[in-house]
């Protein structure tokens, strides 16, 4: 599977970069994610229960960050094992570009699935990945919203208020022209990328 996309995020690259490295936010946001453990600054392990078509399984795997170039981007890659369901492996190249006051986040995901997952679910991967990403935005928006309430008001708060109710699900997938204006939840974009990647890795 290959998927690419980009997001316009109204926050600095530094903030987005930080979000890309916050396991707790990721854990709360990724559908079916049970654990994310940061083992080192560039290594995480995770457990995700995912369902692709008729195949439902718990995936566990290792994630590694390479080609680190803060705050410009990195490559996130890894492999998840789903027991009898098979495996998933792959990665994503993520780049962050300054775009006015915000950040343009671009990603290119490549992933392979194997075993029963490929046998029964290969044709469903793309659609499921998009759906999962949509769920991720919803979860993530909520998580960040509660986080932001206790934090200092963001500079671009009003803009965020206009768009916050709409989860940015359409921004995922192969439609590279899709962009998301999600205001103060700038780092959601970054986490969303990670979600897509993790999804691709673990599903």
């Amino acid at each position: 599977m290959e998927m690419s996309g980009e997001y316009k995020i109204n926050a600095s690259r530094e903030k987005v970069w930080e979000a890309l490295n916050d396991p707790e936010i990721l854990k709360q946001s990724i559908p079916g994610c049970e654990e994310i453990d940061q083992k080192s600054p560039t290594e995480m392990s995770a457990k995700v229960t995912a369902k692709v078509g008729p195949v439902k399984a718990k995936f566990s795997g290792e994630v590694e960050l390479t080609d680190l170039d803060p705050p410009n981007g990195y490559r996130i890659s890894g492999e998840g094992k789903g027991g009898a369901a098979g495996f998933a492996k792959g990665g994503a190249n993520v780049t962050l570009e300054e775009d006015g006051a915000g950040t343009l986040l671009k990603y290119e995901v490549d992933a392979q699935v194997g075993g029963k997952l490929a046998q029964l679910g290969a044709r469903l991967i793309d659609g499921t990945a998009k759906k999962m990403a949509g769920q991720f935005f919803e979860n993530f928006a909520a998580a960040v919203e509660s986080g932001e309430e206790s934090a200092a008001p963001a500079v671009d708060g009003p803009a965020a208020a206009e768009t916050a109710p709409a989860p940015a699900a359409p921004a995922t997938g192969t439609d590279t022209s899709a962009t998301a204006q999600i205001g103060m939840w700038t780092w959601i974009g970054g986490a969303a990328v990670a979600a897509v990647v993790l999804y691709a890795l673990f599903a």
């Binding site: 078509g53 009898a84 490929a118 046998q119 290969a122 044709r123």
Partner: protein, 792 residues
């Protein structure tokens, strides 16, 4: 003839149990104290096995034992053997890498066996298998044949460039000379799509080991129990025949995929002696998709040389055939002797040369599937001949007729080893043209056009070689076993009969057809005859059922045994009737003394044989029970003509098979209804290959068509009402003059369908469609067509 003898369309006796849910299949069998197995399979197409850690799984609930390849290797278990050795052009033998039952150092295809978990229940075994930690070091996969032949990644270290062999047949120089003087050369490149067999019943087995006798019993879904006993006993597990019983009970379809000795059979049998419990295993449908041997998978370039009048001068063929990750039992013979020896087809082409490269890939092994080599050959020839007609502006009917072997040319020696004993292709072709109203096609095309449909007609005229096989010929070609067949005809005291045959029925209706042979021979009703097959403890020996051999090879063995019975019974009758044996005649179930009214019924003689009160005990032994072996003199050569009409919806690309006419020469017909049914089934599979079925692996070796969501089998609404008839030419090289009918439908039909689709699309300038001709593919071809683009 007896009312239930040869030629009678009596109903299949086996259908009562099959159609009422009373069949007795392997999975129906449950043994006392049985355990259940789950096979852990590789999710990777190609990987080094760094370690297999079973410790956590071994402690899981219900687990009895777990074994890996290392355990089997430590026990000295041999690899799964290949039954046919092929030689390279230079005379050296084929590459024959090891095929461990459980993977040892590497896994070589998705689904390759890594470990067996034996537990109290199937679910426990399965759950425990999830706890086995396998450390795979994934290696690059060799999936498509060209990539594999580059040798970038080796499936087996001892098969350089992943080549199994590079083989040739025919006269290269004579063929080149024919091309040098040709007026026209027509070329074609095509692929024969890889198929997944999909027998209705998945593979299954139950193994047992009796500690007190040291005897093993394996119930398994096989088409040839004695072959499994021979291969597994002698080559894999070193169990002598008297300690190994193989039983193939009712088997729900095979189509070739259940010929082969599969690793699971050896693993279960070996493990039964370890755990001292019966072990049961039944494949899930997903496992069937990824571990049953697949079929076909050829890529071919061919050139046909013609003179200015359209006479064929020479044929040159270069084929690459995928054998998968390991050599399956007959994997080497299918793309060679079952394929290229038929390249003359029905034509008197004087010079033929073919070369076949076989390639190891990280895919499941490829082996015989209904037709096995002959569908690949027929598809090539009939596409090529049709293309020649189109390219040269000739009528495809006339071009075929002009080049066909004529009836007075038989026996006909082809340039590719085979000698056709008898046949009449022009006759079956003429009948098919008439039955299909070929002459009236243009009117039907016009009518379809008014309905917005593109109608096309396609022809396939074919011959195949089956009745496998004359042992001497097969042996000379590299077969590692003779392929004769055995029979035992046991007449019981009151005149009923049990026939033991070494062939195996898994849907073909042998229990009916073979009973008809005995009915004919003894003049008794067929319902007094029981046919027993499938149990090596009951049947003395046999080579099983494949290559449409059961009636052509097994039938004459039964006939020979019947004749031995009659010869002995005549002696008994002569004694009782106080006549000379030379004066005893046997007809219509009665022994009579010539020229008198003295007679004895068949059952009276059989009773005398077992209750010998008045019996020539000094001269002949009591009993009426005879064995016979029959080895055919030649292959048999069914043939015929298939004509297909399709309509294509140009808006959707959907192909509807509107009419299908088959006129087949299968020699003598024992049961016309069964023959018709066999042709129907074969045609369904042929149409399936042509328009629906296609196995797809991705570049990493993952099976993408691994379920019925992605692999389309033909259904009733994909098929027309077939017009099927037989037109037998007698003279086949066996006493019954039968030729075999199990595979003709699947052999002849695919090119007829594809030729029809191309004919339908030809007004748009489309000249090629590959199998399966899915709506997507046809629609794309229409979109890309030159005529359409010119119009837009």
């Amino acid at each position: 003839m007896s009312a239930t003898g040869i030629g009678a369309s009596i109903k299949r006796v086996e259908d009562l149990r099959f159609l009422t849910g009373n069949g007795h299949y392997t999975d129906d069998i449950n043994q006392l104290d049985q355990s259940h197995a789950w096979i852990l399979r590789s999710p990777h197409a190609h990987a080094k096995l760094n370690s297999v850690d079973t410790s956590k799984a071994a402690a899981a609930p219900g687990v009895i034992a777990i074994f890996t390849g290392a355990d089997m290797a430590a026990d000295g278990v041999g690899g799964i053997p290949c039954g046919w050795q092929i030689h390279n052009k230079d005379g050296s033998p084929m590459a024959e890498p090891g095929h461990p039952a459980l993977a040892v150092d590497k896994v070589r295809h998705v689904g390759d066996q890594v470990a067996i978990v034996i537990a109290e229940t199937r679910d426990q075994a399965r759950d425990a298998a999830e706890l086995i930690a396998v450390d795979y070091a994934v290696l690059p996969a060799a999936i498509d044949m060209d990539t594999a032949l580059s040798g970038a990644s080796l499936v087996h270290d001892d098969a350089p460039n992943n080549r199994c062999f590079d083989w040739e047949i025919g006269d290269r120089d004579a063929t080149e000379a024919a091309f040098a003087k040709a007026d026209h050369v027509v070329s074609i490149d095509l692929a024969n799509n890889r198929l997944i067999p999909n027998a209705m019943e998945p593979r299954a087995a139950i193994s047992e080991f009796d500690r007190s006798t040291g005897r093993y019993t394996l119930h398994t879904t096989t088409q040839n129990p004695h072959v499994i006993r021979l291969l597994m006993g002698a080559f894999v597990l070193q169990i002598p025949e008297h300690k190994l019983r193989i039983v193939a009970p009712d088997v729900g379809g095979g189509f070739g995929s259940k010929i082969f000795h599969y690793a699971e059979e050896a693993i279960l049998t070996w493990a039964a002696a370890k755990v001292h419990r019966p072990i049961k295993w039944t494949a899930e449908r997903s496992e069937s998709f990824m571990t049953d041997a697949h079929g076909r998978d050829h890529e071919t370039h061919a050139d046909l040389a013609l003179d200015k009048d359209g006479k064929f001068l020479g044929l040159r063929v270069a084929t690459k055939a995928n054998v998968g990750a390991y050599l399956s039992t007959f994997g080497s013979s299918v793309p060679t002797y079952l394929y290229a020896t038929l390249l003359a087809g029905v034509y008197a082409t004087p010079a033929i040369y073919a070369e076949v490269q076989t390639v190891f890939t990280n895919t499941v092994p490829v082996d015989a599937y209904r037709g096995a080599g002959r569908p690949e050959c027929t598809y090539l020839l009939e596409r090529l001949v049709t293309k020649a007609a189109r390219d040269l502006g000739m009528d495809p009917v006339e071009l075929r007729q002009k080049n066909m072997i004529q009836p007075d040319q038989y026996p006909y020696q082809t340039p590719v080893a085979l000698e056709y004993d008898c046949g009449d292709s022009p006759a079956t072709f003429a009948s098919a043209l008439k039955a299909s109203d070929y002459a009236g096609f243009e009117a039907r095309r016009g009518a379809a056009e008014k309905n917005g449909k593109l109608r096309g007609i396609g022809i396939s005229t074919y011959v195949e070689a089956c009745g496998i096989a004359p042992s001497a010929v097969a042996g000379a070609l590299g077969a590692r076993a003779g392929l004769y067949e055995s029979a035992q005809v046991r007449v019981h005291p009151t005149g009923s009969v049990t026939v033991y045959t070494g062939t195996h029925s898994h849907g073909q209706g042998h229990e009916t057809t073979f009973a008809q042979l005995v009915s004919e021979s003894f003049g008794i009703p067929a319902d007094l005859v029981e046919v027993s097959h499938g149990d090596t403890d009951q049947v003395q020996f046999g080579m099983g059922t494949y290559g449409s051999r059961s009636l052509a090879v097994g039938g004459p063995a039964i006939l020979k045994a019947c004749n031995k019975v009659i010869d002995k019974a005549k002696k008994i009758a002569a004694h009782i009737l106080e006549a000379d044996v030379s004066d005893i005649e046997f007809a219509d179930g009665k022994f009579t003394v010539v020229g008198t009214d003295k007679e004895m019924a068949f059952a009276e003689v059989s009773l005398a044989a077992y209750v010998p009160h008045n019996y020539p005990i000094e001269e002949i032994e009591p009993g009426l029970d005879e064995n016979a072996f029959y080895d055919p003199l030649n292959f048999s050569f069914p043939g015929g003509a298939h004509i297909c009409e399709v309509e294509v919806d140009p808006d959707t690309g959907h192909v509807e098979v509107i009419d299908f006419t088959a006129v087949d020469d299968v020699g003598r017909v024992v049961n016309p209804m069964i023959v018709e049914g066999q042709v129907h089934g074969g045609l369904a599979q042929g149409v399936g290959q042509a328009v629906l079925e296609g196995c797809v692996y991705d570049a990493d070796g993952q099976l993408l068509t691994g379920s019925y969501m992605d692999y389309t089998m033909p259904r009733a609404d994909d098929l027309p009402n077939f017009s099927v008839s037989t037109q037998g030419v007698m003279g086949a090289s066996n006493p019954l003059e039968v030729k075999g009918v199990g595979e003709v439908g699947a052999i002849g039909s695919p090119p007829a369908v594809i030729n029809a689709i191309i004919d339908a699309l030809s007004p748009l300038g489309v000249t090629d469609i590959s199998m399966p001709a899915t709506p997507n593919k046809v629609w794309q071809a229409i979109q890309a067509s030159s005529v359409r683009q010119a119009a837009e």
